[in-house]
Symmetry: D2
C-alpha cells in the first residue's frame, strides 16, 4: 500500500520495529474494510436474524481497527501508552469478531474470509505489542 511509502519518507521515523509496525497498519486497514463489508453482506442474507451478533461485532471491530490504524500511522511525537492501549483494544475486538465470524464460516464465505482477516490483525497487534516495549 502507498501508506508504507509515505511512512518510509517520514522526516521523524519512530524507533518502533518498522516491519511489525507496517504489518500491523496494513492489517488494521484491511480488517476495517473487511468487517465493514462483512456486516453489509450479513445484512443482505436471508437469515439476517441469525447474524445480528456477527453484524454488531463487525461494526465494533471496524471501528477499533480504523482508529488503531490511523493512530499507528502517525510517526510524529507518539505516546507509547496511547499506542499500547489502542493496539490492545484492537486485538480484543479482532478476537471477538474473529470468533463470531468463524461460527458462520461454513455457511457464509464472507464470514470465513472475514474471520481470517480478524485473526491476522489480532496476530499483528500482538506481535507489535511484544516489540513496543
Amino acid at each position: 500500500m502507498t501508506v508504507q511509502e509515505v511512512i518510509k519518507a517520514h522526516p521523524q521515523p519512530t524507533s518502533v520495529d518498522r516491519d511489525a509496525l507496517l504489518r500491523c497498519i496494513d492489517q488494521c486497514i484491511d480488517c476495517a474494510a473487511t468487517c465493514t463489508s462483512c456486516a453489509d453482506a450479513c445484512l443482505g442474507e436471508q437469515n439476517v436474524g441469525e447474524l445480528v451478533r456477527c453484524i454488531r461485532l463487525n461494526h465494533d471491530c471496524a471501528d477499533a481497527c480504523d482508529a488503531t490504524g490511523r493512530i499507528l500511522t502517525r510517526q510524529t511525537a507518539p505516546d507509547v501508552g496511547v499506542l499500547r492501549a489502542a493496539i490492545q483494544a484492537c486485538a480484543v475486538a479482532c478476537g471477538a469478531c474473529g470468533d463470531e465470524c468463524e461460527r458462520h464460516a461454513e455457511h457464509h464465505e464472507h464470514c470465513r474470509v472475514c474471520s481470517r482477516s480478524c485473526r491476522r490483525c489480532e496476530q499483528a497487534c500482538n506481535d507489535l505489542l511484544a516489540v513496543i516495549g
Copy 2:
C-alpha cells in the same frame, strides 16, 4: 443530544447503568469533535512548531473517542470485553491529550477548553468502567 432519545427507544436495552453509559457516549462525541477542532486551531497558530505534540495527541484522542463513542452507542448483542478495552483505550488517550493541552492552556484558549473536555471524557470513561463489571 438526539442519540440519547434513540437509545431510550431501543428494543433491547443493555443492562449497563444507563446514566453512566449515556454520559460517556455524550463525552466521547463531544471530545472527538473538540479534539478535531483544537488540532485545527493549533495548526492555524503562529507558533505551530511548538504545538506539534499537541496536534498529534489531539488526532489520536479524536480517533479513540470517535471509535469508542460509536461502540458504546450500540446496544444490540454487546461483548463486554470489547467495550471494556475500548473504554480503557479512550481514557488513556484522553489523559495524554488532556495533559498536553493543559501545558498550552495559558497561551491558547482552545487548548484550555479542549483540556477540560478531555478530563470530562476521561472521568466518564472511568465512571463507566467502574459499573460495567
Copy 3:
C-alpha cells in the same frame, strides 16, 4: 457543544457566516450519532428483515455526516469547492435516510426521532450552501 467554544477561539476565523456554520456542524455531529444508533436499534428489532434498507441508509448517512462534520469543523486554509461538495453529499444522504426512516416512523420511535434529525441536518446543509458563495 464544546466544539463551538474552540471554533470561537480559533486564531484564523473563516469568513463563512458563523451561525450557519456552527449550526451545520452541530447537526452533522448529532445526525451521525443518531444514525449509528438507529441502525443498531433497527438491528435489534424482531422485523429486522424489513429494515434492511433503513440500516443501509443509516450507515451511509452516518458516514457522510461524520466526514462533513469534521471537514466543516476545520477553519484553517479551507477550500470552498471541497466544502461545497461535502455539504452537498451530506444533504443528499440525509434526504435519502430521512425519507426511509419516515416510512418506519409509525412503528419504530427510533426511526421517527432519526428521521427528524436527518431533516434538520439536511436543512442546515442547505442553509449553509446558500451562504457559502
Copy 4:
C-alpha cells in the same frame, strides 16, 4: 485486499460495473491512509509552517475518501443518488489535495507519493461516475 473477496461473496451483488467499483474502493482506502500519513509527515517537517494548507487538505481528503470507501463497500440496498454525491465529493477533495501536494513534491517525497495517490483516486472516482448511470 481482502475486502474484494468479501464483496465477491456478497449475496446481493449490485448491478454497478464490478471492476470500476472495486478499483474505486481500493483507491479510496489507499488514499485515505496515505493522506493521514502525509499530514503527519508534514507535521514532522522543519518547515511545517509552509505546509499548513497541505495538512488541512490531507485531512479533508482522508475524511472524504474514508466515508466514500465505506459507502461504496456496501452492496445491500444502495441509493444511487447517495453514491453519486459521495463519489463527486471524494473526487473534488482528491483533486484539491493532489494539486496542493504536487506543489511540495519536489521538496518532500511523502507529498509526491501522496499526490499520485490522490490522482489515482480522483481518476477512479470519475471512472465510476461514468458507468454508474
